[in-house]
Symmetry: C2
């Protein structure tokens, strides 16, 4: 019988799990004992919200984050040998804009059945909500941190998007959001459309889409928020 | 009070809605009266599965598909004036690899609140499940139909992927799946990794990932299946 690796989406922020995941996914989480998690604190909070009862009895967690080495990953796969297990990110879908893809590939090599489960992805929600081309798009993760390189990358993505009509999707950390927005408004063409999604799936969610010449930095409060 | 456009993911194939959508999403669907749908038959099936009761009383559907003209879209928005409404694809997430993005943009221009809801996207599930780079990826929709152009595009995507490490994601219609797989196996480098996802979220789901030199066309039965 093949072992199974379940890829388990976590909520984005404080959304209740019942609002973010199908009941079937919560049921699968309740039956698993072995997890690979990006962040132990978020994972414990998530399991508690899924009513894993009595709290965490017999639950084993291994950490896989951006600091994990290839040796760490081999060790995790050895420890999990013979077991079904689930992979949980700090937020959103594991292995997309988050660690975990290497381990999924190792699981394929070791003939696990891989089952991605349905749940929130900020990338996908932002793309649906933007009203931009969803027939062709590129996700870039984070843009460069040094401002000169960031602006050069923004201009490159803008030119690529104008050439190909492919939507360009990127994310930024809460504490750099405002600087990135200011750079976009200042350095991109006034006619280019920009969509910003902030606090997705939360009660104060905002999705604003319009040409850059109509954007003013102050109309969306981004400081400290996932966007 | 702002009107709201809800972007409602549909199931992929025959999956029960309870397995594919959070309860909150089903609750929102039950309260809406106005819908823009890609395919009326799938939309009716979906509403029935969501227990919209008594069946469809007062429910109004407008069709938006790949044949809709800009004038059709303006007309739909006029008819929906003052109403909250939901957009439903034939399968998966509206406005992603499906029509609808234009109408989302029009809704932004008319100051609707846009709320993308959580549900299945075959693109995202395939990317999570592949074990490939999820920090940078490009979705291309369908590849060209004529074989010579399709092979040239495949080679171009393969070279781009090798240069950038970006995962290249594309879809194909059930009746062309086998021909596409055969072209990939025959024309791409033996070392390139290929992942094929078939019948996602269904009981006979298959996700196979390995280098092309280990792929044989017959190991996955693709004829007539969404993949």
């Amino acid at each position: 019988m093949a072992r199974t690796l379940y890829l388990i989406p976590n909520t984005l922020g404080e959304t209740p799990v019942q609002n973010a995941l199908p009941m079937e996914v919560i049921g699968i989480v309740q039956q698993l004992k072995y997890f690979v998690v990006e962040n132990e604190k978020s994972a414990r909070k998530f399991l508690k919200a899924c009513n894993v009862m009595p709290p965490f009895e017999g639950v084993v967690m291994h950490i896989l984050d951006k600091h994990s080495t290839p040796q760490d990953k081999i060790a995790i796969m050895k420890l999990l040998k013979e077991h079904d297990f689930g992979m949980i990110s700090e937020a959103g879908c594991p292995a997309i804009a988050d660690p975990g893809a290497d381990l999924v590939l190792m699981a394929h090599e070791q003939h696990y059945e891989v089952k991605p489960l349905i749940g929130p992805s900020s990338i996908l929600l932002a793309l649906m909500g933007a009203g931009f081309n969803g027939q062709g798009f590129t996700f870039h993760g984070y843009l460069p941190v040094p401002q000169v390189e960031r602006i050069s990358k923004l201009r490159q993505l803008e030119a690529f998007s104008a050439d190909t009509t492919y939507t360009q999707v990127f994310i930024e950390t809460p504490f750099r959001n405002e600087a990135l927005l200011a750079d976009i408004i200042k350095n991109c063409s006034p006619q280019t459309y920009l969509s910003v999604s902030c606090n997705l799936t939360m009660p104060d969610q905002q999705i604003i889409t319009k040409p850059i010449d109509k954007w003013k930095a102050e109309e969306i409060e981004l400081r400290g928020k996932p966007a």
